[in-house]
């Protein structure tokens, strides 16, 4: 097992491709985007299936990367998040097949 970082970014669905481009340009080897169903923040709740514009939907982007790329990504994400919601959290993980990250 080898040490890597796990970046978890919760961001507006409409804007997730922006975050993805940021990650790609930071050189991460990959990421996966999960849809969210509902959420709460700033005193407001949102829920899918209740608003066809999906303008309040969020997604969660998960990216396993090494220390260096993680730092790079976080810096460029910070700019993006100036504008957007974006809840970013980073944790330590151990991975198999380290060469992939």
């Amino acid at each position: 097992m080898h040490d890597r970082k796990r970046i978890e970014l919760i961001i507006e669905r409409m804007a997730y491709k922006r975050a993805c481009r940021v990650l790609e340009t930071s050189g991460v080897t990959g990421y996966t985007v999960l849809p969210a169903l509902a959420g709460y923040g700033g005193g407001n709740r949102w829920q899918r299936d209740t608003d066809m514009s999906a303008s309040r939907d969020m997604v969660m982007i998960i990216c396993i990367a090494d220390e260096a790329r993680t730092t790079a990504s976080l810096e460029s994400l910070e700019d993006l998040l100036g504008d957007h919601i974006g809840v970013v959290s980073v944790s330590d993980v151990e991975v198999l097949r380290p060469e992939r990250f």
Partner: protein, 325 residues
Amino acid sequence: MDVAISTLLSPIILFFVLGMGAALLRSQMTVPEAFAKGLAIYLMMAIGLKGGVEMSKNPLTLEIGLVLLAGIVLSFVIPAISFVLLRLTSKLDRTDAAATAAHYGSISIVTFVAATEAVRLSGLDSSGHLVAVAALMETPAIITALVLAGRAGRSEDPVAGSERGELMREVLLNASVVVLVGALIIGWIAGEEGTAPISPFFTGLFQGVLCLFLLDMGLSAGRGLRQGWRQLDAATVGFGLYMPLISAALAAGICYVLGMGVGDTALLITLSASASYIAVPAAMRLALPKARPSVYLTLSLGVTFPFNVTLGIPIYIYLARLLNG
């Protein structure tokens, strides 16, 4: 008058009321998003085809061109008025006001469709190119809003470059524009005869599907209102009710000048009075992320849409009748 009543008691409206009532009573029922989105695409294909087939029957005239132009102008102008009114009367900040204004400059296809049905019910007839007008009115409002928000020219924007292009695509090629315009052209090419084999699906089922769709719209509107009303001060709610009438008056004037028929007048008025709750909120999320959906969506979906679908449309038809006295 009793036409108004019979419109209000048509299943389409009643299902909307049912949905809104259920949501306000906090029923958990939902129509799955994927299914509702599918129905929305069906509805836009259907009206696009209908409009195209009708347009294929008579030649393109200058008059049609002028109506299209009128629609575009209205879509550019209405947001400006909305913005000023919101800034003067409500507590919304610049960004929220601009985002909200964009919704009122753009249109609601469902309101348009409901109006078309009501117009037919009133024994009036309308022409196909109004669908083209609807499509053209979807997006200009967004550009106005960006200017108003002082965002259009921003360049220190970190993600600017590629993003501006992305935003433009999102706005100009959003689902409703693509499907409406596409189906319109297809209907126009294929004509009455070419579309005959598909009309059982697109014409025969139209009103039934509309019932199902409006049930969902009612649920969305009711939930939006229930969850979001706290965000709205009286002035903002008021705006959601009087702004459609202002837009209607504006449109009415233009229709009068252009000497449009009663049916077409009623529809252009409805388009101007209606507010977007699908295309524009989505675009605003990209263009003005700081604006609050809980404000603009609640207002357009929870206040203005119900108003238009129930009281608004009869008023607009009445207004159109007056003009052509």
